[in-house]
């Protein structure tokens, strides 16, 4: 073979490291190792407790079987329906509130003061887990689905306004300029250049959020927010684990169904 005689044989090759700077690379590695050691050190797994817990856990899980749909069926149905109402109303209200806030939180179309106010609202409603919100709204509005409805609405605003704003920020500005150059007013401009661009994702996101809200409605009940979560909590409190299992099964089936349906609708919309 006469190829490349000039190349010295035996030149080594190693895969170039992911992080080029060796100091940073080793620093990160050592930091990760130390952190993991410290974290594992402080978990304090009480292995005897776990070991003792296993047969109890087995008992506990066996108590779930077989799921008992019959005894509490009326309660389950009630809870499911309540969850559905909460989901629908909270999604609608949440999105309705999100639209103006999302517009305001988009840097490219909102003036600076509006932008900061809207971003603050978004950040505020995002920083707490739904459950924490639910605890407070239950305190304020009393037990029941209304507190759950408010919780989900607020959570929807945080999620939806943020994504809507990001979507508007990512839109094609040339189209917007073209419409503005016709002398259109602000609302006309929104209707003719912004709305057509964000509409497909808007619909997609609404369905996503409907899906998420249903899932979340299953847990806000645990802290008193109504819905199927309340039914589940009651079942746990009464040690009716077979009914609890039935509720979990129903939740899983509905969540799967909702996801499947929303996936299909989204594909069909596009």
């Amino acid at each position: 073979m006469s190829l490349g005689e000039g190349i010295a044989a035996g030149r080594r090759w190693r895969k170039p490291p992911l992080i080029k700077n060796p100091r940073l690379r080793w620093g990160l590695a050592i930091f990760a190792a130390l952190y993991l050691a410290a974290a594992f050190g402080t978990i304090e797994v009480n292995w005897t407790r776990v070991w003792d817990g296993l047969p109890r856990g087995e008992q506990f899980l066996l108590a779930f079987l077989p799921p008992d749909f019959a005894t509490r069926w009326d309660d389950i149905l009630d809870g499911i329906l309540e969850s559905l109402w909460m989901t629908v109303t909270a999604t609608v209200v949440g999105i309705a509130i999100s639209v103006p806030i999302g517009l305001g939180a988009a840097k490219n179309i909102a003036p600076a003061p509006v932008y900061y106010v809207c971003r603050a609202i978004v950040a505020g409603s995002r920083s707490f887990q739904e459950i924490i919100l639910a605890i407070f709204f239950v305190k304020l509005f009393g037990f029941g689905p209304f507190a759950g409805f408010i919780t989900l609405s607020v959570a929807t605003v945080g999620f939806f306004a943020k994504l809507l704003a990001e979507d508007i920020e990512a839109m094609d500005w040339r189209q917007a300029e073209a419409v503005r150059s016709t002398g259109a007013g602000w609302f006309q401009w929104l209707e003719y250049s912004v709305r057509p661009q964000v509409m497909p994702r808007f619909i997609g996101l609404s369905l996503y959020r409907l899906d998420i809200n249903f899932r979340e409605s299953a847990v806000v009940g645990i802290v008193g927010g109504g819905g199927i979560g309340a039914t589940l909590n009651t079942a746990f409190d009464r040690y009716e684990f077979d009914s609890a299992a039935a509720i979990l099964v129903v939740i899983i089936v509905l969540v799967m169904g909702a996801e499947y349906a929303s996936g299909h609708i989204r594909r069909w919309m596009q």
Partner: protein, 271 residues
Amino acid sequence: MVTKREDGKQLWRRRATRTQLAIWFAWLVGTAIFVYCFQLISEKTIWFFVLDAGTQAVDLGSRMLPPNWGYMEVLWRPIWDTINIATLGTLMALVIAVPVAFLAAHNTTPSVTFVRPIALLIIVSSRSINSLIWALLLVAIVGPGVFAGVLAIGFRSIGFCAKLLYEAIEEIDPKQVEAVEATGAARTQVLSYGVVPQVLPAFAGISVFRWDINIRESTILGLVGAGGIGIQLSAAIAELAWSKVALILLVIIATVVVSEWVSAKVRHSFI
């Protein structure tokens, strides 16, 4: 976008009459459903409490302020625990989610008829159960504490990570895989040279994204005894120590903000 002719003039409408009617009808149905649902909720609501909420809120707010800063020294350990629950739970989920994702993706699963449905079932059941419910179950089995929290976060995240990862695997460029196959590489080698490099950025993104979510989730697991700052939160609420609650909420916000910053940093460095 219909043009029609009426006594010689061209008319333009955005939609045909029938489509327009259908759209109006859909709006009508939607509004009706909404009103009906709200009606049902309002039946179950004691409006007196709702109307009273304003005064309640002011009252609550006045008790929360100023936050009890002295309580901070008790909180350091719960914060550390909360972060650990999120981090270790995410790591555990990733370790399990990676093989599950490869078994679930159409183009890498060893068997579409047998293995794939099992992998999908794992994903769906993990995803459908909220981490709070996972924690509820696990506290009963392994006892209250951080360990139950780690497991709860882990179990909940398996499905999330595996789902996103297998979708990423299914979207890879098949030509690059084909090229590696054509060299005579074995199946495992095709995976490590053709598939893994393509999904690595998605994997990194999914990991930090889920970690970010898990920080939020792990703040509440304490409500059912699964460790973290939620224990202090529920205790403070139970004893109506609102100034402590205020401090805890501030701490949670700070943690969430920092974690969001970290995950944004990591994501940017990978893409």
